[in-house]
């Protein structure tokens, strides 16, 4: 693509950064969590922290789907992948996430039929082309991605594709934010709300954060200017003692979300009573499963899965990093045992994982600072 390699509107970026610097109260420490992994990536990639005063601390949140997936779910999925009749499909992000006995890619090297897809519809097509095989789609993602899985399942039902099933790991962002707010070791002053999740759920569902917890939320776009404007909006709210949901990304995020997407989610999925998140533990009402009407397409109902629980490697501190208690580089394994080439934890796998983003860009950030 042939578009210029520079920030849009650098003058406005400078002006926004200056205004943030002017408005902050010197003796106050601001801890702002960006919930979405896309924002984490953008913040590291552009070195935005260096445009901010030192007393604004950006804390990375849980919004990276493969990062919060507990290793036991990988193992359950890979147990299905090992069956000879199964073609196991997943997005590229999932392919390098380790289970106890290796990653999906390594399973493939050992002979399992594991295929990367770019869309759940590709997995459905594989099912139609391979009627004598069982095609399983390993679904991950927040509310951004779940509607795609829902529409694919509706499609599978209307076309009577009976050799297709979904291993559902879709998770919900709001219960995770609530868990963070309820966690005693978390002190977050305000939230940069996720952009594309919010195109689906809208801005309204975040209101409980302001109302019940007294914390401001600003839903943000992904450009440097978007993120700086959102931080400025948060600082203004905090200084004025306000706690509201504001929508910096209104050009894409409607206040009430996407109705067809929400309808598809409600039709296909039910909320699980609880679900385990890596680093955050079990969170009630925080993930989706297929409704009983879709049991025929539910891989967990079709195949017996071990239902394993695996604790993360002791030395890895993924949990603390995920909760924003520990910066990535302070983990004992960071950059030594755990690197993007040989990830121990999923935070080092996905480009949206705080550890991988930190690993790739923190050096650039330091050198570009002057």
């Amino acid at each position: 693509m042939k578009y210029v390699d520079e920030f849009r509107d650098p003058a406005l970026i400078r002006k926004t950064a200056d205004e943030i610097a002017r408005l902050i109260e010197r003796d106050r420490h601001y801890r702002i969590m960006e919930v979405c992994g896309g924002h984490t990536f953008s913040i590291y990639r552009f070195g935005l922290q260096r445009l901010l005063p030192e007393n604004i601390e950006l804390v990375h949140g849980p919004g990276c789907p493969v990062c919060v997936l507990p290793m036991g779910r990988m193992d359950d999925g890979l147990a299905i992948a090992a069956r000879p009749e199964v073609i196991f499909t997943a997005f590229g992000d999932v392919m390098r996430v380790p289970g106890r006995r290796g990653t999906p890619l390594e399973m493939r090297a050992k002979g399992a039929d594991v295929r990367m897809v770019y869309s759940p519809l590709d997995a459905l097509k594989l099912a139609m082309e391979n009627p004598d095989r069982q095609i399983v789609f390993f679904a991950v993602g927040f509310e951004t991605t779940a509607p795609s899985t829902a529409l694919t399942l509706l499609r599978a039902r209307s076309l009577n594709v009976d050799n297709f099933s979904v291993f559902c790991n879709h998770v919900l962002i709001l219960p995770a934010i609530r868990a963070i707010l309820d966690s005693p070791d978390m002190r977050i002053d305000g939230f940069i709300g996720p952009g594309h999740v919010s195109t689906v759920i809208g801005a309204r569902p975040y209101e409980f954060i302001a109302r019940e917890y007294g914390k401001p939320v600003v839903i943000s776009g992904f450009e440097p200017l978007d993120l700086l404007q959102s931080i400025l909006m948060l600082i203004k709210q905090l200084n004025q003692g306000r706690a509201e949901v504001e929508n910096q990304y209104a050009r894409v995020v409607p206040w009430d979300g996407n109705r067809p997407a929400l309808r598809a989610l409600a039709e296909v999925f039910a909320v699980r009573p609880f679900f385990e998140w890596r680093g955050l533990g079990f969170i009630s009402q925080s993930a989706l499963r297929l409704r009983d009407e879709f049991a025929a397409w539910d891989a967990e109902a079709r195949f017996s899965v071990p239902g394993v629980r695996v604790t993360d490697p002791k030395a890895a501190q993924c949990g603390e990093v995920l909760k924003g208690v520990l910066p990535p580089n302070r983990c004992k394994l960071f950059g030594r045992e755990c690197t993007p080439e040989h990830p121990v934890g999923a935070l080092m796998v996905s480009s949206e994982g705080a550890c991988a983003a930190y690993y790739h860009y923190v050096h650039a950030m330091v050198t570009a600072g002057d």
């Binding site: 097509k125 139609m128 996720p194 996407n258 067809p260 598809a264």
Partner: protein, 107 residues
């Protein structure tokens, strides 16, 4: 996974308003537009695409901004690779659409 890809609708496919051909930096692929049926998507509209589904309608200017953002993030080639990888087109394309295209060609 979270960074959406901007594309321009080339034509709607006659499949219950579920599918359209989209152009992303010269790459043409079929995507699902079922999530935007209340927005009335039509040819030349710009949309944000995620895992083969149009998520939001955006302006042409926003689409250019988003393309530039992907470029700046070093994700442009990843985005193109994703779009090129969408493989569900043949099934989505209906007989009517094939007829329409052969009509286009004969014009």
């Amino acid at each position: 996974m979270c960074l959406a890809i901007p594309g321009q609708i080339v034509r709607l496919l006659d499949d219950e308003g579920q599918y359209a051909v989209v152009d992303v930096s010269g790459v043409r692929r079929t995507i699902n537009i079922g999530l935007l049926r209340e927005d009335g998507v039509k040819p030349d509209d710009w949309v944000l695409i995620h895992v083969g589904f149009a998520m939001s309608k955006i302006s042409g200017e926003q689409a250019m901004d988003q393309l530039r953002l992907l470029e700046m993030l070093g994700e442009a080639s990843v985005a193109l690779e994703e779009v090129s990888g969408y493989d569900f087109a043949e099934r989505a394309e209906s007989t009517n659409d094939r007829q329409a295209r052969s009509a286009e060609r004969s014009e």
